[in-house]
Amino acid sequence: MIALFIRDMRLAVRAGGGFGLGLAFFLIVTVLVPFGVGPDNALLARIAPGILWIGALLACLLSLDRIFALDYEDGSLDLLATAPLPLEAIVSIKALVHWITTGLPLVLATPLFGLLLNLPVEGYGAMVLSLLLGTPALSVVGTFGAALTVGIKRGGLLLSLLVLPLYVPTLIFGAEMARRAAEGLESGAAMLMLAGITCGTIALLPFASAAVLRVNLR
């Protein structure tokens, strides 16, 4: 499992791996929004948590189709499926690598991007925390979507259509938590729901992903 983790991290940071792509996309979205809605500080402060969350969601989506597609094309997915590693472990590692290369950089960069959107000072901690709790679910759900669409040519669009509705609960509670904190309200309930959704997806979805992967490899 560690070997697979190291290999996938290496592939991600080498040429063509797409590391940093999500982060750059996130930056562009947060820079474009003030141009679109105008330089109204009060308005920006109000919509900042929602914009940051939607930006993170789309940035995550960008790299999902690479999770299995490359391994499928060069045949290593077939070989991995016959290796001693269980497929459940393989999809979990893939989701973890996706989170480290996409989700974690977003979490770390959020304070900077919050500044661009005039996020209220009291909202920073909750904004970062909500993304930290929510983005693992985005990667795990996304891995499930990628497993569903592996082997389909140009499966990226179908993948987005399948995965985005599944992101709704995470988006609602994540953005709600950040918004309430930014307005100085109590945000504990939303945080617990967000953490619960993430824990639930991590516990259950790898089994579903491995099952659909088995069907898709036939």
């Binding site: 070997a3 697979l4 592939l11 060069d74 045949g75 077939d78 991995l80 499926a81 016959t82």
Partner: protein, 209 residues
Amino acid sequence: MELSVTDLSIARGGIPVLQGVNFTLASGAALILRGPNGIGKTTLLRTIAGLQPPLRGGINLEREAMAYAAHSDGLKSTLTVTENLTFWAQVFGTGTIDAAMVAFDLLALADRPAGALSAGQKRRLGLARLLVTGRPIWVLDEPTVSLDVDAVALFVAAIRAHMQGGGSALIATHIDLGLTEAKVLDVGPFRARVTNYDNAQDDFDEAFL
């Protein structure tokens, strides 16, 4: 460690291609599968490798004893030869790649990215993966594609060494390997009769027809 197949029927894309396949592969032996294109050699090997379920019949094989090599080598073009091979050695828990590097003459290419290799060199690296799996039963699909004469000789030498160590190999190929001790099985006579197509649909399918 033995592989035996009894009354096996297999399908590709829902259409039966082979039926009633029987053979046994003892340890220390090799079996070469022959047959025209599209007869179902690859499907048979994928079924034996456990990548797809058979329609009917049994495969007696310990999954943990089998190493499968497909048409494609599963190489990562941005990783070097050593990194590619070390990864598989770690996945299979054997850890050492030196013998495999020597057996397929890869030492001179050790630090080259796999993307910069020629087709034949890639294939050699793909076959070297079999040695680092440390598994006794090799299931090989067209292993000699794009290999030159010398590389085929390396491959045959590796198979012989593997057989002497008690391992066995099931090989689908069109060329003459010069592996005289191997038995040959022509899968042509096992071609599935078209009338069988209706039987292959189960109740679930029929409910929608």
